[in-house]
Structure formats: structure tokens, C-alpha cells
């Protein structure tokens, strides 16, 4: 069954100048139809301004389609009555770690979602504990978020979403403002969610090394889905990715260069190990 499905999704917004006159209409998402299965790990790639974040915000009913439909867990996101159910089913983590933590203590922030859902006090505590453990932040439960590193703050935000028991979690460029160590922490936490808790993960990013673990990758450009496939299928199209303002891991690029020079190497090499094998070493 698909947990998220979009059909002919279009999102337009009106640009206005300083006096409020209409300057034009921008189509941020253009005719996107896709279907994501329960339990998938999906990566959505794209350069800045490709429409990937706008697409993501539709899954959490923060934005509504101009045309077309989005279903989350079978519910139409435009249906006002289902609004809170949609938001509970599809949690969202945003880019800036500082601007999404509400609580002044880690555990209180994680409890914020369940409080809003009206979960009984005793169960909130259970959920907070299990969520913080799932992202490896339990020992920090009494800390102030201001004292945490970027990666830790993002893990707290992820815990805050898990505590709402969603079916699906959308991570909207969660690593864009982090250092490499923080990025690894967050990706590790997201993978654990997918493996252990079987939550569907939709990871929006422009870091290529983060998509290697995905089952399926969508590459966005100009509001459309420009490429779709497994990471290997995506990475085998080095030239196309460059056109889309993206790059590939150095090992993939090296393999690509060697192939162009006439060596017998398959497309879409993802690791050093694979390259060594391909070279017969």
C-alpha cells in the first residue's frame, strides 16, 4: 500500500512587487505524480530552487496543491477534517535546527507533539523515552537544547516527530546546516528509524553521499521529477546529474572517467570496494 501518493500535483504561487502588484506566477511544483510505499527509504535530490522542499511541505499539509491531489495514508491532504490526522501520520523535520525546537529542555521538546495530540501524561513519558532512545539522545534528556551541537539538535527534532507515532517522516534538508559529523549522526538516526521502526523515510537533500542508502531516489528539477531510480541507476548518469547542478561521489566520478578512457567498468560504482573489483584487483 502506498503511504504517500501524489497525482498531477501542481503548486503555484504569485510573486508580487513592493506595492503588491502581481509580477508573475511561479510554478514551484509542476505535474508531479509519485507513489511511495510504506517502509521505503526515499531520497529526493535537487539543487536549490528545484522544488523539492515545496513538494515536501505538501506531504505534511503545510502547503496545499494548486492542482492535483496528495494522499497521505489514504487521506486527501486538502480535506480540512483530516488535517490533524495527516500531520500526525507524516511528521516533518526542517532545515534549521534552532528554529524548530520549542522546549527549553530536550525531553519537554520531544513531549510537545504528544501533548498536542492529547496523549495521556503517563504515555507521553513512555513515548519520550522510547523516541529519545531511538535517536541516541536519551542521556541528554535533561539538557538545554541551546547547549547541543547541530547534529544533536536535529536528532532531538527527529525524536519529537517519532513521539507522535507517525507512519512516515519527511526530513527537509536536515543536514544542510550541519558539519560532516553532525550529518552522519542525523543520517544514521534516519536509517535506524527506517530499519528498526519501519517508518517510511523521505529524505530531502543535496548531499549525494546521503542517498546511497535509499531504496529509491527522485531527482527534481524545475518542479518536475527529472530522474527516478535506485541510487545505482541515478549515479550511473554522471553527465545528466551535472546538468542538474548535482555531483557524484569521487569514486563514482573516477570510475566514470576510467570508463571514458576505455576501461571495462560498469556504470554506477558506489564504493571503493566495487571499483577495486571492477579493476580486477
Amino acid at each position: 500500500m502506498s503511504i504517500v501518493e501524489t497525482k498531477d500535483l501542481v503548486f503555484e504561487y504569485i510573486r508580487r512587487d513592493e506595492e503588491g502588484n502581481v509580477e508573475g506566477i511561479t510554478r514551484a511544483v509542476d505535474n508531479v505524480s509519485l507513489s511511495i510505499r510504506q517502509g521505503d527509504f526515499i531520497a529526493v535530490l535537487g539543487h536549490n530552487g528545484s522544488g523539492k522542499s515545496t513538494l515536501a511541505k505538501h506531504i505534511n499539509a503545510i502547503l496545499y496543491p494548486t492542482e492535483g491531489t496528495v494522499w497521505v495514508n489514504g487521506m486527501d491532504t486538502s480535506d480540512d477534517e483530516k488535517l490533524w490526522d495527516v500531520r500526525q501520520s507524516a511528521g516533518m523535520v526542517f532545515q534549521n535546527p534552532d528554529n524548530q525546537i520549542i522546549g527549553q529542555v530536550v525531553e519537554e521538546d520531544v513531549g510537545f507533539g504528544p501533548e498536542n495530540l492529547g496523549v495521556p501524561t503517563k504515555e507521553i513519558w513512555e513515548r519520550v523515552e522510547e523516541s529519545l532512545r531511538a535517536v541516541g539522545m536519551y542521556e541528554f534528556r535533561k539538557h538545554s537544547p541551546n547547549k547541543l551541537s547541530g547534529g544533536q539538535k536535529q536528532r532531538v527534532s527527529i525524536a519529537g516527530v517519532i513521539a507522535m507515532h507517525p507512519k512516515c517522516i519527511v526530513l527537509d534538508e536536515p543536514t544542510a546546516m550541519l558539519d560532516p559529523k553532525g550529518r552522519k549522526e542525523v543520517i544514521r538516526a534516519a536509517r535506524a528509524l527506517n530499519d528498526v521502526e519501519e517508518i517510511t523515510v523521505i529524505l530531502i537533500t543535496h548531499y549525494m553521499e546521503e542517498i546511497i542508502y535509499a531504496n529509491r531516489v527522485f531527482v527534481m528539477d524545475k518542479g518536475r521529477v527529472a530522474m527516478e531510480g535506485t541510487p545505482r541507476e541515478i549515479f550511473s548518469q554522471v553527465e545528466r546529474l551535472k546538468e542538474l547542478r548535482l555531483d557524484v561521489p569521487q569514486v563514482t566520478l573516477l570510475a566514470h572517467e576510467l570508463k571514458k578512457s576505455g576501461l571495462q567498468i560498469p556504470d554506477g560504482i558506489l564504493t571503493t570496494q566495487e571499483l577495486l573489483q571492477a579493476l580486477g584487483l
Binding site: 490533524w84 516533518m92 534552532d98
Partner: protein, 266 residues
């Protein structure tokens, strides 16, 4: 620079005062402040002083920390004392130049000083032993009945706690923007008033833009986490009175009664 300022000067330790319900602490603080203005005479002040001393000892907060709050009111204290000292009419004790000090003046100045010091210390005990969050919760609950007359108590409390969360972040941001503009040759320190006010523009514009962006992001994040106001909301840490809280209320009542009695008799 700016980030050195800490708001909500909570002192982390474990004491019976720390564990008290914030409502008890709020009520006690109010009662204590009122008592300072009700009591008359030395006996009353001794009583208030003893009560304060007891609470401070129980709170395990070093007196040094209490004194910190004093610095900020030192100026006010001096002014109040001077006014009372020189401007009170009565039996003249000393007189020089155009100034006279009267017996009553000394008495009132002394009272004023004691009151102010007690007042600040009393409220410091509350802020030092209660996290800002807890305090907000306490206020929300205490003011709860006002909802009946359509005071948005929950919203006010939520705003307070968000403000408390973002103040350190915005202070840090101010520091950063300031440094960045100084690196571009901005000068925030010299010049006359008008020049200085003008020099704040490169700091304030980015700061406001950033604050609005953060507010916008936060609102979206809260909505995404199903926030829809105070109705139907449960609490992770609901305020529940324990035995110690009731005992504390009892103590406060006893203190108030003693104050009234002391005022009458002596």
C-alpha cells in the same frame, strides 16, 4: 560579549525549595512582598528577615548568588535611601549646608533599604530555584480562572516560554551580526546620539529579518507537530500539589498571621 547575559538565572541544585510547586513559590513570593509593606517596626522586619533566611538556607543557593541581583538595584537603593534620608521632615539630627537629616529620615531610609533588599532577595529565591519554564507553567495554572473572562492565558504562557527559548539565540545572533558589520568597517561606539542611532540600522535590519524568519519557521514547525492552541492539550509535566506543597502553604499562612500579630502588638 552579549551572550554573557543570562536570563532566568536558574541555579541548578536539588533542594526542598527547588522541588516545590511553582504556584507555591509564586504565591509565597507575593505574600512575602505584601508582608514587607504591611509590617511595621523592627519586630516585623526581624520576622521577615528570619523567614527569608530560613528559605534561603533551605534552597541551598549560595548567598553569593543572591547578592548578584543586588548589583542591578544598587543605584535604585542609593537613590531611595538618599531621598528618604534628606527629604523627610521631623526631628533634626544633623544639619549642614542646605541638607538636614532627621530622626524620621534615618528611620524611613533604613526601612526602605531593608524592604528593597528583602524584596529583591525574596524574588531572587524564586527565580533561582524555579526554571523559567516551570514558572510559566505555574503562572498559566494560577491565572487559569481568567480564561473565563477571555484572557488568553495559554497563549500568553506559550509566548513567554518561546521568548525565553529564543532570547539566548537572538542575543548570539546580535553578537554575530555586530561583528560582521564591524568587519565591514561599521562603528557602533563613537559619534553623537543621532550618528549612533543611525549606526544601529545595519544591525537592526538583519536582526529583525532574522527574527521574523525564525518566527515563521517556528510557527510552521509547531503546526507540523499538530499544535492548535491550548484546548484538548495534555501536559507532559502537569502541576500536581504534593504534601510538601501543602505544608509550604501552611507555613506561609503561619508567617502571614505572625506578621499581622507582630504589627499589632509591637
Amino acid at each position: 560579549m552579549l551572550r554573557d547575559i543570562t536570563l532566568g538565572q536558574y541555579y541548578q541544585t536539588d533542594s526542598v525549595i527547588h522541588r516545590l510547586d511553582p504556584r507555591v513559590k509564586l504565591v509565597t513570593t507575593i505574600v512575602f512582598i505584601v508582608s514587607l509593606f504591611v509590617v511595621e517596626g523592627a519586630a516585623g522586619y526581624v520576622l521577615a528577615g528570619l523567614f527569608l533566611l530560613l528559605v534561603i538556607r533551605l534552597s541551598k543557593v549560595p548567598v553569593r548568588f543572591m547578592m548578584r541581583g543586588m548589583k542591578s538595584i544598587a543605584f535604585l537603593l542609593v537613590i531611595a535611601v538618599i531621598f528618604n534620608l534628606f527629604l523627610t521632615q521631623g526631628e533634626v539630627v544633623v544639619s549642614f549646608w542646605k541638607l538636614t537629616i532627621t530622626k524620621e529620615g534615618i528611620y524611613y531610609a533604613g526601612c526602605m533599604a531593608v524592604r528593597l533588599v528583602f524584596l529583591i532577595m525574596g524574588s531572587s529565591v524564586m527565580t533561582l530555584t524555579t526554571t523559567p519554564n516551570n514558572l510559566t507553567d505555574g503562572l498559566e495554572k494560577l491565572l487559569g480562572p481568567l480564561k473565563v473572562i477571555r484572557v488568553p492565558v495559554h497563549e500568553i504562557a506559550m509566548m513567554m516560554s518561546i521568548a525565553l527559548r529564543f532570547i539566548p539565540i537572538l542575543l548570539e545572533e546580535t553578537d554575530k551580526i555586530m561583528k560582521a558589520q564591524i568587519a565591514r568597517g561599521a562603528d557602533f561606539e563613537s559619534g553623537n546620539l543621532i550618528k549612533r542611532v543611525k549606526s544601529m540600522v545595519p544591525l537592526l535590519v538583519p536582526l529583525f529579518i532574522s527574527a521574523f524568519r525564525r518566527a515563521n519557521d517556528l510557527a510552521t514547525a509547531m503546526e507540523a507537530r499538530c499544535y492548535r492552541g491550548g484546548d484538548h492539550r495534555t501536559k507532559m509535566k502537569p502541576l500536581v500539589y504534593h504534601r510538601r506543597d501543602l505544608m509550604a502553604y501552611g507555613t506561609v499562612c503561619a508567617y502571614l498571621a505572625l506578621c499581622i500579630v507582630a504589627g499589632r502588638i509591637i
